[in-house]
Amino acid sequence: MKFGVVRFPGSNCDFDTVHALRDVLKRKTVILWHKDHDLQGVDCVVLPGGFAYGDYLRAGAIARFSPLMQEVQAFARDGGRVLGICNGFQILLELGLLPGAMLRNKDLKFLCQHVHIRVENERTDFTRALRKGQVLRIPIAHFDGNYYAPPRVLRELERNRQVVFRYCDAEGRLTEAANVNGSMANIAGIRNKDGNVVGLMPHPERASERILGSVDGRAIFESLILSLERSGPARRPAARTRARHDR
């Protein structure tokens, strides 16, 4: 099992994510350079946090054109697991691998703090080590994390159980106050329809060691490891996915 963490110019959680996967969870992990066209045979691609291309123009807007993103898109189409954290989530939105967009936080301020998120869908490859309704304490650090999608898309997300995490209070209630960045429906993380691509704003790599104050983020990586162990890298032939996209 091998993880690949993509390094864009301006990525700044790349080292942290590698540290969590390689040093804490003891999984083979490589850095994938954004200018390459080679995924080095990884079983899971992680797009880390940071400010790829300085977030100039719009978070993720330039990063989506990095050469490696063609391979990542094909990999995702073929059912490969892709996890986008923070800036990685924003890039997945720009790539169109996940629906919706990010607005500036409602207070128009960068926010770095611990938040609580509730597991909405425990039956994904990214949450199978968690329980439905489980509350995780995990940090966020972003300026553009205010999730937005048009009503039709939002309805579809809900219908397909694509919302994976929502901001909540310590008791798991979806309050306005807990929704610090103003996201629609308190959305903190979503998956694609096929379930192999997930993006979330909170940083699991910052909550993977006791010394950092929380290990709640580790379960997300552990879920991925479990999934990869059980079912191998890709679950479906590429052709089927393409057909679905063509419709």
Binding site: F110, C112, P139, A141, I211
Partner: protein, 736 residues
């Protein structure tokens, strides 16, 4: 051609001009004059401060690099070093708060990675006018978002610092930025141009007209016309700097270069001449090869530009292609613009003509040092006799007032705008006595703090500076970290005013005395004079950045109460010291009196005692007493406890109640321990000559302080917490 008005524009005196002519053996042309004006500015040349700074201790067993390089370097064992420095960006931050603060961060980061270290933490000391004035708020918002915008993007956590408010900073806010880096000892690089024939490479952003004369601007007083100086403020590009950081660390890691220097104040001028001077060499530069952002720039503008995110490197000719390849990978150009030559002269050509030809030694090392006239510092406004000072009817209300004062109130409004967790080393979040960072792959940790109470230094510069050093070290000791080195940022008014020089001289003396007593070297820093706007000087504000080392991070102690039933011990003695206190300022509206006294030897014993007891694992929490005294320290320990535990404290003695609760006597710390350990801790304190007394117990929902069994104040933790927590954000609420 060069007359009095030209000299005035360059902030040079006629005596200085005569000295330049003598040193270079000719009348300088305008470009050469420009070079001298920035290199001999107060900011770069330290001409008013040098004679005094010599008093500071700079040596110690851990010192790898003391003052004189881009940053200080200390050995922390296991082949690793820390690289750290503090710098001011006060003037630019007043003129253009966002960019001023942002480029302050950018500049200090370059100072650190220039030496081969990866920056792992930023802390800032910020001083503004009171936040009830919208102008002050707007400066503060700009500064905080500027620091956030730059630091967050580049991925270096801003892990702590301090924010003070006082009317003296209204027209002259202070933005002091500290950065800490970590490196392998054998991978440290210096700003030296060595080896004739080696190539000089320019890397990073193109040169534009921004920031010309920034260093000269920082070396003069401000008047009402400062708005016009906005073009002197540089504009930062954190993305470019991130690329530069990664590329520079890569070429250094692969040992592809000989020397490297960032282009900070005085840009290309400073980097070329300093590198040559330090290497004992000369340098030839072809200014046409310097990448330029704008057409038609003159040699004067190219040399004096302070465009950000630029570095100068020296590499052997064989290594040039490999260096350029690394930079190309990061989408950066690295053209060769010159060569290291023998002879000690800087020779610059532009369109085939020699436009600069001067000895580097004169520029870099022969800037005159002034022993400026000194007058006694202005005396403090006398404090009213304590007998005349009314005791508040309700001491609980007084506590709430002090907790809600912007200087003491919770700063999360500030800190949550900074990414303080990136790099996953941050163990204590901002708000603790010191920031605590683990060192990956070891049990060790680094603790860092910034400190300086400028009201104390205003009232008594020498005592104030001693306290600044003492308190900074105490902040580390309460965490369990031994202080190992200091960097300082000395913010003062106009040094041409004898009483300002008097404050400076006294403050440096006090700081030197304290650092000597504590055995910690000062490895560098920054002096910021001319913090005067419209003729008014700021409080003298020496800020110390102190780095501490813990051998075992598992033993680190945090300020929050841990468990109900734990004993509360007050270490240190309380006196009737209300002068210069936050209580006197907020409750009685007075900035007056003498600051608390400090006994440096007692302070040292106290810190040694803390380190010893923390090492044995006996302390459950420890929190330094500073602004707001005992009552505020206890309240903060309650706020920092996970379950908002209160405390019941019973004191004795004859002090006035307000002095007992809010006095700021030095060398005091509140610690808690298991009941069973208290007796042993008190015994050890008495053996070590440290006053200590059991004063109460953790528990309940109130912060309760009494004397002889009678309550002096009793406030619910939750209520006090809300006041402390909501104070600062309330100033910034957008009306609905």
């Amino acid at each position: 051609m060069i007359d009095k008005s030209v000299l005035d524009q360059h902030n040079l005196t006629e005596d200085e001009y005569r000295l330049i002519v003598e040193l270079i053996g000719k009348e300088p042309n305008l470009t050469e004059l420009g070079i001298f004006s920035v290199m001999w500015s107060e900011h770069c040349g330290y001409k008013s401060s040098r004679v005094h700074l010599k008093k500071l201790p700079t040596e110690g067993p851990r010192v790898v690099q003391g003052p004189g390089e881009n940053a200080g370097v200390l050995d922390i064992g296991d082949g690793q070093v820390v690289v750290f420095k503090i710098e001011s960006h006060n003037h630019p931050s007043f003129i253009e708060p966002y960019q001023g603060a942002a480029t302050g961060v950018g500049g200090i980061l370059r100072d650190i990675f220039t030496m081969g270290a990866r920056p792992i933490a930023v802390l800032d000391s910020l001083r503004f006018g009171p936040p009830d004035d919208p102008k002050n708020r707007s400066i503060m918002e700009g500064v905080v978002s500027g620091i956030a915008g730059y630091g967050n993007s580049i991925g270096v956590p801003t892990v702590g610092g301090e924010v003070y408010f006082d009317p003296c900073y209204e027209l002259n806010p202070l933005v002091n930025v500290f950065c800490l880096g970590l490196a392998d000892r054998d991978k440290i690089f210096l700003a030296k141009a060595e080896g004739a024939g080696n190539k000089v490479l320019y890397v990073g952003a193109k040169t534009g007209r921004d920031g010309i004369h920034g260093a000269t601007m920082a070396s003069a007083e401000f008047g009402k016309e400062t708005e016009h100086k906005r073009p002197n403020v540089q504009v930062g590009d954190p993305f470019k700097e991130k690329l530069l950081l990664e590329a520079c660390l890569e070429v250094m890691d692969r040992s592809l270069i000989v020397g490297i220097q960032d282009m900070g104040a005085a840009g290309l001028t400073c980097s070329t001449t300093e590198m040559a001077a330090k290497g004992g060499m000369g340098i030839d530069v072809d200014l046409d090869k310097v990448p330029q952002r704008e057409a038609g720039m003159t040699p004067y503008e190219i040399l004096l530009s302070e465009s950000q995110e630029r570095m100068l490197m020296v590499a052997t000719p064989e290594n040039v292609p490999a260096v350029q390849e690394v930079f190309a990978k990061w989408d950066l150009d690295a053209p060769v613009i010159g060569e290291v030559v023998a002879g000690g002269r800087a020779r610059m050509t532009f369109r085939g003509e020699v436009v600069v030809d001067i000895p580097v030694d004169a520029v870099v090392n022969l800037c005159p040092a002034y022993d400026r006239p000194i007058a006694p510092p202005p005396p403090p406004p006398p404090a009213p006799a304590l007998a005349d000072l009314p005791l508040p009817d309700d001491l609980g209300e007084a506590l709430l007032k002090v907790l809600g004062s912007p200087t003491i109130a919770d700063k999360q409004w500030v800190f949550r705008q900074y990414d303080h967790m990136v790099q996953v080393n941050t163990v204590f979040l901002p708000g603790a006595d010191a920031a605590l960072l683990r060192i990956k792959g070891s049990k060790k940790a680094l603790a860092v703090t910034l400190d300086g109470n400028s009201l104390y230094t205003r009232l008594d510069p020498r005592t104030g500076a001693r306290i600044a050093a003492a308190e900074a070290c105490r902040n580390l000791a309460v965490v369990g970290a031994r202080p190992i080195g200091v960097t300082n940022c000395l913010n003062f008014g106009n040094p041409e005013k004898p009483e300002v020089m008097g404050q400076f001289e006294q403050a440096v003396t006090g700081m030197a005395e304290a650092c000597r007593t504590f055995g910690i070297p000062v490895t560098g820093g920054n002096v910021s004079f001319y913090n005067d706007t419209e003729g008014l000087s700021i409080h003298p504000t020496p800020v110390l950045g102190v780095v501490g080392l813990l051998d075992d991070i598992g033993k680190a102690v945090s300020p929050g109460f841990k468990a109900a039933g734990d004993d509360v011990i007050l270490i240190g003695e309380s006196f009737e010291e209300l002068g210069g206190t936050e209580y006197l300022k907020t409750v009685h509206g007075l900035e007056a009196g003498a600051p608390p006294a400090i006994d440096l030897e007692l302070e040292k014993r106290t810190q040694e005692y803390l380190l010893e007891t923390i090492d044995t694992g006996l302390l459950r929490s420890a929190h330094d007493l500073s602004e707001g005294g005992l009552a505020v320290a206890l309240a903060e320990s309650a706020f920092h406890s996970d379950r908002k535990l209160g405390c019941e404290v019973d004191l004795d003695g004859e002090l006035r109640a307000d002095a007992l609760l809010f006095g700021e006597s030095q060398s005091r710390v509140v610690v808690t321990c298991r009941k069973a350990d208290a007796a042993g801790l008190l015994r050890l304190a008495s053996r070590r000559g440290v006053p200590a007394k059991l004063i109460g117990r953790v528990g309940g929902r109130d912060i309760a302080l009494g004397r002889g069994g009678r309550d002096l104040l009793r406030v619910p933790v939750e209520r006090a917490f809300r006041v402390w927590k909501d104070s600062l954000p309330a100033f910034f609420k957008v009306p609905a």
